[in-house]
Symmetry: C2
DNA sequence: CACCAAACCGTAAGCGCTTACAGTTATGGG
DNA sequence: CCCATAACTGTAAGCGCTTACGGTTTGGTG
């Protein structure tokens, strides 16, 4: 046991203890050349003292902070009801963050996480403060407008997820069009469905746009009908999907052959509400999702969906950011990862699940 | 459009633009007294320039970094199988983090998130580096040993979650004993079960210990039997619960009246495996959980469980840390939040769920 | 053994900000 | 109208670290 130094340790304490200059300590700590015995003395001093360099000072003197900030939208509390806890539902965004984290860990970076309220229309302040504390930003979908992104990207490296690339920033997304084409083709050509409803996500999200377009294109080619429009407008949340179906059923509107949901979370709400009304899936209506979020897998859902490589999306985003930060050869402006159709039972295909998690 | 300054802006640029000294700029920015017209000039300059102060410099000159680091264990990948994606299962820890985030947001803090691999037995390095980048640490369960916590806590404020308080650190947990007593009493006194198995979590986690003890106490009082021991040892994961049940059934060991799981995640694995073998819950055996994680609620699980105020636990942890950081009156060493028995169907009580999410 | 290059080290400047201190200007009472 | 006092501002030091620069040591060579 050494005596407790009252204040927090600095590089001077280490230098004194090791009998060298602070410059040498710094050099050893950063792995620059120095004589073996100097290295030893410094390292022992560091170890004995339990010295940890101040990140702030390090960052200030021109070094990297080794921090990447991640900004995502926190779903607002939806009105009371079955899905009222939805902001805790922990689905897509969290898996994405895990992926980012994996990428960051590999480079010794830490992640500064910051969520922005859905209703916060000018998160500039928050994002500015994050920019001051980090080396670069990763922005989830719908955090900032394109011009907002462009502005921030002029000051600090920025990577967007499922957004749109700008002059200065890089975007990472998955191949929505391909996945949706596969899915639609399966529904119209494989199953011969003639009417498909598209239960949309946020109307202006690039992902949503790409999915809609692909769906309409393939359906049109096959001569199938696509229902969209106001009443089929969801919000990527289970509560949104549930609300749409409730409205449809209340008004006794007809159901299509298949309900193509903008994402899995929406599909969960849809299937829940259909079940409540005694409508069977896929017997009465087929339902599909998009994303293949883990919770669906764990629960042995039979949901036919399009798998996005969610974690990899996150990891790729970090890698791109890292390239931007270190000034490595500039990554592509728009990085696209492949998607894959996952056929389970909800589209009408025979599918034998291993068994339900929860007996009913 | 002003001309783009090539380098990143500093307080000097603002001062020059506003025609004042950097000290005045700093004072205005930090809300100290100054003449109204000085304030205006500084604020306009800041706005026009789009100035964002450097967090590093701020932190270095003795200020707060306004960053709290959160460290949690990332579950290792379990062997292939149904639950192989479990590190993505996103349950307890994530909700906790959401709570911490809510607390942090209220104080303008950002969160530096860092996970530690389950197999990493000396995360000192990582934690040291975090300490250098933040004002305080929140450690989830099982991140650091008690002595490890004590050591770190001497350098920087530390709050542990579901751990044990030390001389220097504060612990936040929920009232495991109370919840488990209620649950056990319901099972033995309410249902008259005579044999209960406890499917344990990590054996040395304080939460697990408290739950076991409470269960044994109440059961003993009521003259009921408690089965524990090697074969009933789980790991807080669904895969662990599944493995235990598989082993029991393979060896054709008898089942108790009720399987009391250390947490909900375990219960999910248990129920899954029981269902696979055609064993009905609660008809053949009752099953209970602990935590009341949101996924269970969303899916309208019938799981009888004990609700922990997970989010509040997180928010409380941040508040305690904040108190420590700002030197406010020292919070209690061991903060305990109440728990609540949630009776659904899996214990044998009649329970009418609103309907299954996924038609079966 | 003298000399030169290479390898290493210490000195000191500077990163962008806060704040004690001293200097300046406004305020109000006598 | 003068001066004490209050209110504000600018100057400069310092937070802990990295790194350019020049001095010192080391080791190889003739």
């Amino acid at each position: 046991m050494t005596t407790d130094p009252p204040r927090v340790l600095t590089i001077y304490d280490v230098a004194e203890r090791a009998g060298v200059s602070i410059a040498s300590v710094s050099r050893v700590l950063n792995g620059h050349r120095s004589r073996p015995d100097t290295q030893d003395r410094v390292m022992s001093a560091v170890r004995e003292l339990g010295f940890v360099p101040s990140g702030a000072a390090r960052a200030l003197s021109g070094q990297l902070k080794e921090v990447a900030a991640v900004v995502f939208r926190r779903a607002a509390d939806s009105p009371d009801g079955v899905f009222s806890d939805e902001d805790e539902s922990l689905m897509f965004a969290e898996v994405l963050n895990r992926g980012i984290e994996a990428g960051a860990r590999a480079r010794g970076f830490d992640l500064l996480m910051s969520s922005v309220d859905v209703y916060d229309h000018s998160p500039q302040g928050r994002i500015g403060s994050l920019a001051g504390k980090s080396d670069g930003l990763i922005l989830h979908d719908k955090v900032l407008s394109a011009v907002g992104v462009a502005r921030v990207a002029r000051r600090i490296p920025v990577v967007t997820l499922a957004g749109t690339a700008t002059e200065e920033s890089v975007n990472v997304r998955s191949d929505n069009a391909f996945g949706m084409r596969e899915l639609t083709s399966h529904l119209v050509n494989g199953h011969g469905y003639q009417t498909l409803a598209y239960l949309a996500g946020h109307v202006d999200s690039p992902d949503n746009v790409a999915r809609t377009e692909a769906l309409e294109l393939v359906a049109a080619d096959a001569g199938a009908e696509v229902w969209t429009g106001e009443i089929w407008r969801g919000n990527y949340l289970a509560s949104g999907g549930a609300a749409v179906i409730s409205r449809i059923l209340e008004r006794a509107l007809p159901l299509p052959n298949a309900i193509v949901c903008a994402n899995d979370q929406t599909a969960i709400g849809v299937m829940f509400t259909l079940a409540q009304h005694g409508i069977r899936v896929p017997d009465d209506v087929a339902v599909t999702g998009f994303d293949d979020i883990p919770v669906a897998r764990h629960l042995h859902s039979q949901l036919t969906t399009v798998r996005q490589p969610i974690k990899k999306l996150g990891a790729t985003a970090f890698d791109a950011l890292y390239a931007l930060i270190t000034g490595a050869p500039r990554p592509e402006q728009d990085i696209v990862l492949p998607t894959e159709l996952v056929v389970r039972g909800s589209c009408g295909c025979p599918f034998e699940p291993a068994g339900p998690v929860l007996p009913s």
